[in-house]
Subunit: 226 residues, 2 copies
DNA sequence: GTATCACAACTCCTCAGACAAGCGGAGCAC
DNA sequence: GTGCTCCGCTTGTCTGAGGAGTTGTGATAC
């Protein structure tokens, strides 16, 4: 038997849930004007302040928009599905497959387009990663992620950079679990591979950069499975 | 001279703005317990209910978490940056580059892993696209996007599917502009290419599927630039 | 000394009532 | 038709009150 966390769930959240259901369920399409606060309060069986707070919460989610004197209007029918949230809930193998897809191509582009500033940033990030290896796990993980981020940034595509940033929390979570489980004694070996990657990008070798990233992620994935 | 829309900005939003500034500015790091409602109301110079509504709004954004009896706590320091929003604001060339990156690999995976159900869905989507060509622009665009979505879905990676869905609004926007500008007389020619893509996936030919997607997106991009 | 329990202080939660401020339509004068 | 005023409805804001939950403290029993 599985236990679900018991939550008293304040009236405000219950009210918000009901309103959300009306909106996402299509009963109130985009543009609809909601019944007045007093009406809603009566039909939900709660006070007006409670209804107001529920409306505020949904407004914060981007679903509703109250306009003084006019009423409350439906702004969107779906809560913005946060891709980052999706990543956190997804299977790790799926996340890593997409990450591989993005990072390998990013490394290739980085090797083709890197500027001098990119190379300087990459070398600085590599240096920080090396030095962080002697510090705490959290520092090392941050430095490792920062290096990968720098590679993606060197591809010079803001959309790609923003996309990779969506992965960062999931990566940090995964790496933390990995390090906690297996230790990171052999993680320093990764230094060679990362240094080679930075060199490949710096000297403009797309094939080698892509291959190195591919190998490194595959290695991490294998360690995870082991 | 440019006119900016005048917004009276209710007290609730002003209060929420101030609280948000404290959080994103780092004055209240993640995990911090906020001062009590009465204290906040006094220091902001507003009533308690106003503060409560502002807190609800920020809770809706995922920044705060009120816990009855305990207090209000900072849950995250940054408003979730919605990747979809980012896409809408980004340069089209950058968006298409990342789209190309995702969709080509997705087509390859789809050809490797497609199930019978996937193939059936692909053929149905292709059929709908062909028939929609005789209907309105909006119908045709939706059907075109649905076919591309079906290809990505056939790759069998939920993360990839969710990622591609983030692109859908931007794609629809771009296609609508393209069709409005250049008409879609030659768009029906795309039928051959799309049919070939579906066939390549169905018969399990990853290289050909990837190449076809690559060509098709490149062609669209060229038309856009022309 | 340690563990347990009762309690008090503090917090958020909910409600009701009152008034202010803004919107939108009805009706009217021109 | 145009512009005006007025009125009803809506959200915005404040206050006061009591309920319910959490947390730390201090007394008590062992």
């Amino acid at each position: 038997m599985t236990l679900r966390s018991i939550q008293p769930s304040p009236l405000v959240e219950q009210a918000a849930e009901q309103l959300r259901a009306q909106i996402t369920g299509g009963a109130w399409p985009v543009g609809t004007k909601l019944p007045g606060e007093t009406t809603l309060a009566a039909s939900l069986g709660v006070g007006r302040s409670t209804v107001r707070e529920a409306i505020r919460a949904l407004a914060g989610e981007g679903l509703l928009q109250p306009r003084q004197g006019a009423g409350v209007f439906v702004l969107a029918a779906e809560p913005r599905v946060d891709f980052g949230d999706h990543l956190r809930k997804a299977a790790i193998a799926d996340v890593y497959e997409v990450r591989m897809m993005i990072e390998t191509r990013a490394a290739r582009l980085a090797a083709e387009r890197r500027t001098e500033a990119d190379v300087a940033a990459l070398e600085a990030a590599l240096d920080r990663r090396t030095r962080a290896a002697r510090r705490s796990d959290a520092h090392f993980i941050d430095a490792d992620i920062a290096l990968h981020t720098a590679v993606v940034a060197a591809a010079g595509n803001p959309v790609l950079t923003a996309l990779f940033e969506q992965f960062v929390p999931a990566l940090r979570e995964g790496l933390t679990a990995l390090v906690a489980a297996s230790g990171r004694a052999d993680e320093n070996l990764g230094h060679t591979a990362h240094a080679a990657l930075v060199a490949a990008v710096a000297e403009g070798n797309p094939e080698r950069a892509e291959a190195l990233v591919s190998e490194e992620i595959a290695a991490t994935t294998l360690r995870r499975l082991a």
